[in-house]
Amino acid sequence: MGIFQDLWAGMQEFGQFLPILMMLVGVVIGIIVGVLPGLSPSIGVALMLPVTFGLDAISALVLLVSVYLASNYGGSITAIAINTPGTPGAVATTFDGYELTKKGKPLHALLTSLTASTVGGLVGTIILILFSVPLAKLALSFESYEYFALGVFGLTIISSLAGKSPLKGFISSGIGLLLVTIGFDTELPFSRFSLGIPDLADGIEFIPALIGLFALGEIFYSIEKGDYREKRKSAEVNLSDTLPVKQLVKLKTVILKSSVIGTLVGCIPGAGGTIATFIAYDQAKNSSKHPEEFGKGSLEGVAAPEAANNGSVGGALVPLLTLGIPGSASTAVLIGALMIHKLNPGPELFNKEAGLVYGIFISLFFANIFMFLIGLLGNKLWIKIIAAPKSLLYPIILALSFIGSYFIQNSVFDVGVCIAFGIMGWLLKRGDFPTAPVVLGLILGKMIEENLRLSLVKGEWIEFFTRPGSLIIILLAVISFFMPYLKKKWLSFNKKK
């Protein structure tokens, strides 16, 4: 009975004018934050923090959580429309989302992403409500050995991302892995490979690099090919071309599975939604009946990362609310917000403030539904933007990328990083080197090195194989690495028969 009582208490907390208003405002702001490249969910939440000083606790948290949730969805819109992930979590969405846009089916991609995000968010919320206590144990059981294994698992995904040439894919990931070693050593207080340049001492800022690789790289590549000269035919983007519900229903297994992956990975502190999106994409491809369509405009390829990304929001709240540990940059800001309202995140919160905690859960539930409605309205607008002539669109994207990289830390150097990665993305692209593995290397490199070295300080390397957690993940990594090749063999073997 306990849970129903708590939910009822939560309903009473949330079901008032101000919290509901804040949820609506939060979703709209969140989508805007997600759409703007450079403004990641954590920056969005941080920007809203001062606004919450004047609010009561429940309204403040509802606002921040709604911004967090909706910005994770918003990032996919630009990923699909203009190949620019609005947030790091939307990188994997570009693989198939933008391909669909190029094929004249942006609405299919946008609707799939919206539906997957909504379902992912709902699944994440339900898991959060029902299983936060056992999940907290999972979060707590992750030691450096498991983090290292998870990093290696993440790297194996390259074998399914690489496309035409696996060799080029691995080279790309190597570039990311090497570049992320620039900056402070993970053990000693000195900066490696920064050549005495103060701005480089902390390494390469991730988001400007991401914007450069994807947005700028794509624009430079398209301009070189001369596609801005093409006159857009209105038939190319068909407004009435809606996606039949039937097709969406077909995606249900992929969406549900990815939502669960997202929630589970999301609840591991420091792993985060972005890694979850890559794992979900990889799993979807490996279990798909049409793996060959991935990377060429598969709806499954859009649904999987988006469901995982929004599922991770519920997951990230698990360690925050149950252990008092922020699992991501966004939840670190939420801790600040809780403390401003004299609330201590952690097990105490569940006991003393059940109404508040469950009020947040309920608000997440409704925020998902409201996000879906706003998203449906928004799609019409995004389609119009996609249909604009490229010679008008490109300068605007360039300017947005520019502000996006500048405002992360008001740094001119970061804009330089963005431009440099833009040039690199362009040079790689024109040689058919995939750019996504570079991002994967940038994300995973630090996690792998930090946790390998921490593990070696703490104990022996053999523990990677004697601890059940890390052993299972390492085995998963091996399977995931060879899966695409085995599957190919299996298919050709069956054909022969």
Binding site: I32, I325, P347, E348
Partner: protein, 499 residues
Amino acid sequence: MKNYLAGFIVLLYLGLLGYLYLDISRKNTFPSRPISIIVHSKPGSAIDFMARKVTEIARKYNDVAFVVENRTGTQGLVAMQHVLDSKADGYTLLGVTKSFLSTVMVNKSKVNLDDFLFLANMVSDPEALISNKNRGFHSLEDIILDARRKNYSQVWMGPGTGSRDHLMAMKCWETLGIKAKWIDYKSGPQSILALMRDEAAVYVGNPADVKGKDGLSIISIASKKRLASLPDVPTFIEQGYDLDESMWRGFAYKKGVPDEAVEFVTGILQKVVKDEEWINYCNNSYVFSNFEGPEEFTRRVTEETAETDRYLNKAGLLVTYIRESPLPPALIFLLILTGVFLLLFLSIRFKIKQLNYDQLVAGGIITVSLFFLYQTFLFNIPGTVNITSPSLIPRIWIIILIFLSSLLIYRSKSKTEHIETSSPGIVWAIIALLLGYLASMQWVGYYITTPVFILSVMYILNYRRFNIMAVNAFGFVLFSYIIFNQLLHIDLPLGWWFM
């Protein structure tokens, strides 16, 4: 119709420019605009939180707004440098913490703490020894006994090597007469998680770290008296060990700020620390409100700098980590580049046309990898610290990259791929425009450079319908003003030239 719209948008834009720039030319007595508080860490961190609390309370006493601005990077050096680069006009205040003392020393930075006027120390956050309840430690004696029993293999942990917490651990070992092993868990949250799993005997941190968490207990705090909000936690001194070590947080100006500004800000801060809301905040975050004016604060900084230097030396952390390169790095890079491509050309017998794009890219990657490899040979790691070498992982990546790139060169030997290009020149023109935009924005400001940039790119891309161009360019600026400035409260730069 479109012409009217274009005209309207341009008029709106001019109106916005007038509004923004006429406003800054109206200068009178201090302060005429909001004062920025530069914070070196992310929103939600302890000092960010304190700065925001001060901002909130100060609003009660004065109409002038303080605005918290987060400039993260290099453990605070980015924020310190930013304040030193700003005008000493009183509009840029720096949030300072005790960790800055070691940051400046360890990084051998050109930032000099003597260039700052340490204006006000606000809080003192005592260092604390925390352990998992499973260990059954109740007093410092329990820790000492356990340390002796384990024969110096007791594990202490916290975030950072050479951090305040690390130095506190060393100070403790000295005072308690024990030896132990320090493991750096990088971040606060990861340290706390490890403590919850009981991976180490002692975690060095601050009392607030245990807030709301089960299973952790504070063994002792290193302050002169007990915290009002934690009356059961004893101090070191009560247990017979003379140790007083706290993290302080306060504010500093760049030296040379007009007296008027110093008096104004000190005046407000003095009111803030007497406010009931401030006292509540301090109790709630388990810190002491400990106001110190410029004289006292500066004396403290000088004394503690000497002490920090001593402990960093003792830990063997004040060494030169990277040896001087015998030749300038740029020259080394050129040498490697020449070498790699000479080899490439040799392998195809000087028929330059046969070198395909893949081989060029692979050659570039090998060059950069070798350049990184060269740098790893310059690392100089003190023997006092027990760690895996910082060059291990980079070298693994380097070897993999060189191997794979060589494989690519070998495989694509015979093929000469033709890349369909039509206009790489335009791409370089746009890159040049981007760089120009970057260089000029700092000086002339966002609102003037942005439309110029957008219009020029459209022009280069052969778009010629001028009314639509105007709607787009100026409309975008208006849109970004509304979104960034009004909705998200991010100030877009107006340009140094006008300030």
